[in-house]
């Protein structure tokens, strides 16, 4: 895919792993138990890849969106297939898996907080890594068809000619693990700025 170089992908991979460590620390502190976040894969993705990763284009997902503002701009989205989101809520609340059965107010609030911690950790890690001032917005919690959410970020970035970076994100405590998808889409001007830092 043209537009996003290896340098940018490598930068975002490094940043994602640093962000995961920070977010894990934040979550562990909040939850009072050890929660680790693993980043098994960072890659450029197509719209279909992103939807497949969360259960297909018709799948219902629960997640949250944050925008990045400051020296560079972009979009961050954390998505879970609905059943995994509910499992994640149980994990966050220290409940046995299966306790949460619907995306109620508590579930939405938990996912919003999770996205806030993970998204902010990522944005702050990026800001430190590239020495730029970046601000994550408060999260907007979303429950909708996977494709509807993914394509909207895609359309916004593609209308300016950019790429979308997909980061597999696995949350793990002693009792098990649950995988979500973190989508990072720097606006094309931001990609150019990041590439400028490579020179």
């Amino acid at each position: 895919m043209p537009g996003t170089t290896d340098f940018v992908i490598n930068t975002l991979s490094t940043v994602a792993r640093e962000g995961a460590i920070r977010a894990g620390r934040g979550l562990s502190g909040l939850m009072g138990q050890e929660i680790a976040i693993h980043i098994p894969d960072v890659r450029l993705g197509t719209k279909a890849d992103a939807c497949d990763a969360v259960g297909g284009s018709d799948a219902i997902v629960l997640g949250a969106y944050l925008s990045i503002s400051g020296d560079i701009t972009g979009h961050v989205m954390l998505l879970f297939p609905i059943e995994r989101a509910l499992k994640c809520v149980d994990l966050m609340c220290g409940q046995p898996p299966g306790t949460t059965t619907e995306a109620d107010e508590l579930a939405e609030s938990a996912i919003g907080e999770l996205a806030n911690i993970v998204g902010s950790a990522f944005v702050n890690a990026l800001a430190d890594h590239v020495q730029l001032v970046l601000h994550p917005s408060p999260p907007t919690v979303l429950s909708d068809m996977a494709q509807a959410l993914v394509e909207t970020v895609y359309a916004e970035v593609l209308s300016q000619g950019g790429d979308v970076v997909m980061i597999d994100t696995v949350f793990e405590d002693r009792g098990g693990h649950v995988a979500g998808l973190l989508i990072i889409a720097p606006d094309p001007a931001a990609v150019a700025r990041l590439e400028g830092l490579a020179a």
Binding site: A48, S67, M145, Q147, A148, A155, L158, S159
Partner: protein, 168 residues
């Protein structure tokens, strides 16, 4: 090849895709329209129909990739009308239904993501250029939609994550 009578073949029309059909067993579906806009068209006499899943408002003179003929509203609508005409449809007989163009990232981000609104407007304008006016539309809002077009009846249905399919 056509499916045996009575057996529906469900064809997914992905982002930027276009499909036309004269096979009464075929159902054309645009899943998860967020800011994208789906347009179904049906000629009840020729009994042919089609569906486009448009991603962006304007081609700005770019030739769309042959793999994504309906990527842009303007060239996508042109391609739909052309492909339907090739199957024997007459433009003046086309019944059009339009759905999508939502702000799925919530009211807080609606101002930033105006792409849904711009897509809907671009579709309307391109249809107007062809002398066409949608018979029905379900546009805007904050929820994603799935649009189904049934070639057998020419009917179009829209559903969301929270509500079952209703005819448009």
């Amino acid at each position: 090849m056509s499916a045996p009578p009575g057996e529906q073949t469900r064809i997914s029309v992905g982002i930027g895709q276009l499909a036309v059909s004269r096979d009464p067993n075929e159902v054309l579906i645009a899943y998860g329209l967020g800011s994208c806009v789906g347009v179904s068209a049906f000629d009840p006499e020729a009994k042919v129909g089609g569906l486009v899943h448009v991603l962006l408002p304007a081609s700005d003179g770019r030739t769309p990739d042959s793999k994504e003929p309906a990527r842009f509203a303007d060239t996508g609508i042109d391609a739909l009308v052309k492909r339907l005409a090739e199957l024997g449809a007459l433009k003046r007989r086309l019944r059009l239904k339009v759905a999508g163009g939502a702000s799925v990232l919530g009211p807080a981000n609606a101002e930033k993501f105006k792409i849904g609104e711009r897509n809907a407007e671009a579709i309307r304008e391109r249809l107007k250029l062809h002398g066409l006016v949608p018979a029905a539309a379900d546009l805007g809002g904050v929820k994603g939609r799935t649009l189904e077009f049934h070639t057998a009846t020419g009917k179009t249905f829209v559903r969301t994550a929270a509500s079952p399919a209703v005819e448009l």
